[in-house]
Amino acid sequence: MKVLRNSDEFPDYLKDASNFRGKCDLLLLPVHEEEIEGAMKLASGEGMPLTISGNGTGLTGARVPEGGAVLNLGLIPKKMEFNEELGIVTLSAGLPLQTLLQAAEEKGFYFPPDPTEKLCACGGIVATNASGAKSFSYGAVRSFVESLDLVLTDGTAFSLRRGEFIARGNRFDMLPFNQKRALDFTPLHMPAVKNASGYYLKEGMDLIDLFIGSEGTLALTKNITFRLLPKPAGVLSCLAHFSEEEGALDFIDQARFLTGEKKPRALEYFDQGALRLLKSDFPFSDDLAGAAVWFEFETGQEPPDLLIEIILSMFSDCGGKGEIIMAASPGERKALEQMRHSAAYKVNEYIASRGVRKLGTDTAVPAERFREYYIESRNLVRSAGLEYVIYGHFGNSHIHLNMLPENQTHFEAGKEIYSELCQNAVRAGGTVSAEHGIGKIKKDYLKMMYGEGGIRAMREVKKAFDPDFRLGRGNIFDPE
């Protein structure tokens, strides 16, 4: 194991992609899987809080330490074993998502979660219950986790398979690492939208779901088994521009209700600001349009005529501008997907170049409240005179409204609006974070969502696994 004690030697471990910065006294880099438990014990032995760090691609400061030790699995040789018969893959938590996606594709499989940053560690996507564009059809990472190998802060290791520990009401009669110990919990009123805010606590839940999205506060994830899907025969991937943003919202509203074989797997929105931002890299982005929608449907080898006719008719009804462009090769499909992901990269670049922190919403609200929420949010930012771009997984009524503060004064003004946008999302029955997680920067907003009672319920659960609040300290909620 590599142990570093001078934080000047590892500045990369003290920040993440949101530009949130921290400090720590010890970096633990086990080089074999067998050393992980020892590393956990070492930090415990020194009485230090321990932050588990993935590849630093997160946007909430969850991997950024506020003192104590950091543990990263990057030096451990990565394993990835496919069981093609069962359609599952078992891999090391430190394996980058990109490696999994490529290997799955080569083997004729498909792993739908596709967060923008493909260099994220697979352990990280479990920790945040990440999702991406395809969550409209397939849900977040949670839907694909079959089993986890976990290690508690004191070094206790155990495995957890889906279906193995199911709560009886609000009680787990035993825990995998101690069959004599029960766990009672208070369920949360989780919103009926895509959600990555706080613990998953629900009556009759599966224990594995508690660890998914727990942001490194309950246990370290050592290995993961994901369920895979067969690769679809064909994918229809298109970009449609609209003269007005209302038209794009109408198109999404109509497409959202297509069902069966005609159900889209992704419905992504770009406002004019995003189209402008993307124009130089993606010439097909029409920055004179009011907004655009990138959508994907899984099809057979050829997209069915009826589907094309439905899409063309919706496009015409909704004030489509020009022609719907269609990816006719894998390369073109990649370019359209890349355009969506580049929107996020470009915003992150802007933020880093200005030295301010990211102010991008990750809110989602129920579909019937979405249009109202969108317009209200956009007007709030616009009236404050702040620059912004909007994109997001609008199929899921999930919006990334990114304010682009030029300096610290703008940032402070934006922060107030951000808080209001979160409050409005909660009021509309939605969530303050649909996919990025809470980390260290959204704790106040989580309180808006669940109140002190909800936070207390989560804190109680944490105590059962990490009584000294050592693991991921400062993530999701503060110690009492």
Binding site: G74, E106, P303, D305, I308, M326, A328, S329, P330
Partner: protein, 248 residues
């Protein structure tokens, strides 16, 4: 004006090529095929010319049934008619050029656009050979083209710079990256393409002038070495770059 565009159907650039069991062809299992990227520039240039002076764009392919996929894409982009010179044989460039030239001649096209090369065998020869068979003027490796009053002014990419060339119809133009930004097919174009015709024609008995004896993959690259992940590794890296790789 009748405009011909020659379109090849080639393995996707991301393909990991494997040699097939006979040692002479690639193993096509699991390979995705695409329109030869340089031919996409040729299609776009053909469509731009049609939009400027009106006419008919014929896209012509030579190969097996699967080549229709690339022709369909060209039709969805806006070409008018597709012609597949159907054969399961692999021919050398001169034979391909001869067969394409015969078809272009029978269609009565005055201008031919094609990519400067196909990214599969990289011969960079077919366009020039077509012009020779047809007796057309030829400008290759074109990065910019202006057509005014029957005169073609082209910029060619050459070593270290560009050459400006003027010629007249009939002409063959081979397209290099940069000549245009090929349009995407539109959804409406896909529907329209379904109604457009791809005529299949059998090719005359032909024999290649050159014969491929076999394919060889390049020697595998040496695996990379990880020297470390902190500042100490830089010293070692500089030392190895200087003493072992001798690049600094």
């Amino acid at each position: 004006m009748k405009i011909a565009v020659c379109v090849n159907h080639v393995p996707d650039t991301a393909t990991k090529i494997k040699v097939g069991p006979d040692g002479k062809k690639i193993d096509t299992i699991g390979v995705t095929y695409i329109v030869n990227p340089y031919d996409e520039y040729a299609i776009e240039e053909g469509l731009k010319l049609k939009e400027k002076i009106s006419g008919t764009v014929y896209v012509i392919g030579l190969g097996g049934d699967s080549h229709k996929e690339s022709l369909k894409k060209a039709l969805a982009m806006g070409a008018d008619e597709g012609i597949l010179l159907k054969t399961d044989q692999d021919f050398d460039s001169v034979t391909v050029a001869k067969l394409l030239a015969e078809e272009i001649k029978s269609l009565g096209c005055e201008v031919v656009f094609t990519g400067k090369q196909s990214i599969d065998f990289d011969n960079s020869a077919t366009g020039q050979m077509i012009s020779e068979f047809l007796g057309f003027n030829c400008v290759s490796n074109v990065v910019s083209l202006t057509i005014e009053n029957g005169s073609l002014e082209a910029e060619r990419e050459i070593e270290g710079g560009r050459e400006v060339v003027k010629t007249t119809f009939p002409a063959v133009i081979t397209a290099q990256k940069g000549i245009n930004e090929p349009r995407y097919a539109s959804l409406k174009g896909i529907m329209a393409a379904k109604k457009k015709v791809i005529t299949e024609k059998s090719v005359a008995q032909s024999t290649s002038k050159t014969k491929s004896l076999g394919l060889r993959l390049p020697a595998p690259k040496n695996p990379g070495r990880i020297l470390g992940s902190d500042a100490e590794a830089i010293k070692e890296l500089v030392k190895l770059l200087r003493e072992e790789a001798k690049v600094i």
